[in-house]
């Protein structure tokens, strides 16, 4: 019954304590939040936890959400902030087990995909691993702008930074990705000829 209601109506009902309306919003925006969180953290228990926490924070802020931004951008912003916090915690936790003799060594990121069974899957895994190798700030821009196809403006709103900063971070991130992927292009794992 609530399936076809617009966001504004569901929000109003959720504010009045209608749990079904809030649940409908969770179901409607699960994909958006999942794309952000899994894009940033990879698939796993902490991604699920951050996804839940995103909606819990939103639930707590229902009265404050004034629809100045779209619900999508608002949820992406919460999800991104929580993902960055989780990355920070994960990094801090892993650093405890990394030798202090080698301060520049970065802790390994958890694997995000199973072994590839086709060339296409292998290409996808290589590119996703390269994205996971970016710094959190650069990764966030790539995930939102390139993988989720948010506009530069939406990306800026979601990250709380100016549009110019989005563009400069994106430019640096693309350069990094290019150099990370170059060996795979040379050995033929990533075919760059026009496949269309």
């Amino acid at each position: 019954m609530t399936n076809d209601l617009p966001d504004a109506e569901l929000l109003e009902r959720a504010r009045r304590g209608d749990e079904t309306a809030f649940r409908r919003l969770v179901e409607r925006y699960e994909a958006v939040v999942a794309a952000t969180v899994i894009g940033m953290l990879g698939r796993g228990a902490d991604a699920d936890d951050v996804g839940q926490e995103t909606f819990i924070r939103f639930y707590g802020a229902l009265d404050r959400f004034r629809e100045e931004s779209t619900l999508k951008t608002y949820l992406v912003r919460i999800a991104m902030n929580l993902s960055l916090n989780a990355l920070h915690r994960r990094r801090r936790g892993l650093l405890r087990f990394v030798s202090r003799d080698d301060p520049d060594r970065s802790p390994p990121e958890p694997a995000i995909d199973p072994p590839a069974s086709t060339d296409e899957e292998e290409r996808r895994i290589v590119v996703r691993r390269a994205i996971m190798g970016l710094s959190p700030k650069h990764r966030a821009v790539v995930v939102l702008r390139m993988l989720q196809s948010l506009s530069t403006r939406e990306t800026a709103q979601a990250l709380g930074i100016p549009e110019g900063t989005v563009l400069s971070r994106l430019s640096r991130a693309m350069k990094e990705l290019e150099s990370m992927l170059a060996p795979y292009v040379r050995d033929g794992t990533l075919a760059t000829e026009d496949r269309s």
Binding site: V26, A31, I38, Q52, I56, V127, M146, M174, L190
Partner: protein, 113 residues
């Protein structure tokens, strides 16, 4: 690698619609957690503290403006009689023997012989 080739590789690496999902039962887990948090006594405390913080943030500009106005008024009123700029802003007049013994400073005191 050309920029458009890299963009295409990234587009191909985006999560598929099937991958843009948490584990089954995600909405149930969210609703359960939301219910548990609302039922927790600390939940009310969170609401109270966040409400107080929100109110404080809302009032901050007005309080800052009022403080500035009072400071400006103090400085304007006692700038000639204060020992320092800080004292003037705080509205503290400089005290000397003559000002202490002036008639305006002594109320209901008997006249000195």
């Amino acid at each position: 690698m050309r920029p458009d080739e890299l963009e295409r590789l990234l587009a191909d690496a985006a999560l598929t619609p099937a991958e843009r999902r948490f584990d089954p039962g995600f909405a149930d887990r969210v609703m359960q957690r939301a219910g548990a948090r609302a039922a927790k006594p600390g939940g009310e405390h969170d609401v109270l503290s966040s409400t107080l913080a929100r109110q404080a943030r809302r009032m901050l500009p007005a309080v800052a403006a009022a403080s500035l106005a009072v400071s400006a008024w103090n400085w304007w009123s006692v700038r000639d009689r204060a020992d320092s700029a800080l004292a003037a802003v705080l509205g503290l007049e400089g005290v000397s023997l003559s000002t202490a013994l002036s008639s305006s400073s002594i109320v209901d005191a008997e006249e000195l012989p």
